[in-house]
């Protein structure tokens, strides 16, 4: 994306206990980039949802790695969350995103991607079956 020199990278096991660690790290990165308190919260949510998706959907119960890369730029922060898991059909999922399944037993609302798209300035998802998923998003300074 950009030169390695301007990248802050965090990788965690795809285990729910470490998603909070990424939130702390991203709040540090965002605060160093002089984002406002509200913008920092938005970034925490977006990164959190992307990591949670990787933890929940990517590895089918096995443990893999989730990698978050942050690229501070002049007027924005670019973030990339990647896994090497199952992948998914992005088009299909985005078409039904936000529409909650009214009687689903699991506490999932299909909200993760909706949050990311709503709170970030641009979002791009790449996913390939059994190769994994990379979601990239950017947040501009206001």
């Amino acid at each position: 994306m950009t030169s390695k020199n301007k990248c802050i990278e965090i990788s965690i096991p795809s285990s729910s206990e470490y998603v909070g660690v990424v939130r702390l790290a991203i709040s540090g990165v965002a605060s160093r980039c002089n984002f406002t308190v509200d913008e920092i919260e938005d970034l925490k949510i977006a990164v959190n949802e992307a990591c949670t998706n990787a933890v929940v959907h990517a590895y089918n119960g096995k443990t893999g790695t989730v990698t978050v890369r942050c690229y501070p730029k002049h007027n924005e922060l670019a973030v990339e969350v990647a896994d090497q898991g199952a992948g998914f059909n992005v088009k299909e999922v985005l078409a039904r995103a936000g529409k909650s399944t009214p009687s689903g037993k699991r506490p999932s609302l299909g909200l993760g991607l909706t949050f990311i798209q709503n709170l970030m300035d641009s979002t791009k998802i790449q996913s390939a079956p059994r190769k994994g998923t990379t979601i990239r998003f950017t947040k501009k300074h206001r």
């Binding site: 729910s16 206990e17 998603v19 909070g20 660690v21 939130r23 702390l24 509200d38 919260e41 925490k44 949510i45 959190n48 949802e49 949670t52 933890v55 929940v56 936000g98 909650s100 699991r106 506490p107 999932s108 609302l109 909200l111 993760g112 909706t114 949050f115 709503n118 709170l119």
Partner: protein
């Protein structure tokens, strides 16, 4: 600690009040689900949940709240949420969740009053 979740349950005028402190995410939400389930199993249908000390809530946390709200709604009840942090409110807004069976209130007073109005005698 920095990433912990603490849940307290007390009762006021027959209304269970769930006070949550900390961050609700994929790691901590099962504790919330458990708490709500045990309250619902005891037969309560009007539940007040205080999020004033919740620093962070994500889609899984919202899911746990929505699940609880759906369960009590099936029994004619409601979940009243206390929430004054703009960031937390925003999450509810973006999710479009604060509707029928799940209402937001700015203070515990108002939430409990509302719950008591719905309480069957």
């Amino acid at each position: 600690m920095v990433l912990d979740l603490k849940i307290d349950v007390r009762e006021e005028k027959n209304i269970p009040i769930v006070s949550i402190n900390g961050e609700i995410d994929i790691y901590t939400y099962p504790k919330l689900t458990e708490t709500l389930n045990s309250i619902i199993e005891k037969g309560s249908t009007e539940i007040v949940i205080n999020l004033e000390n919740v620093r962070y809530i994500d889609s899984t946390g919202l899911g746990a709240l929505a699940d609880g709200a759906n369960r009590v709604f099936d029994q004619g009840g409601h979940v009243s949420i206390i929430c004054n942090k703009p960031q937390v409110k925003k999450i509810f807004d973006v999710s479009g969740l604060a509707k029928r069976n799940l209402s937001l209130f700015p203070s515990e007073r108002e939430a409990v009053d509302n719950a008591r109005k719905h309480l069957k005698p």
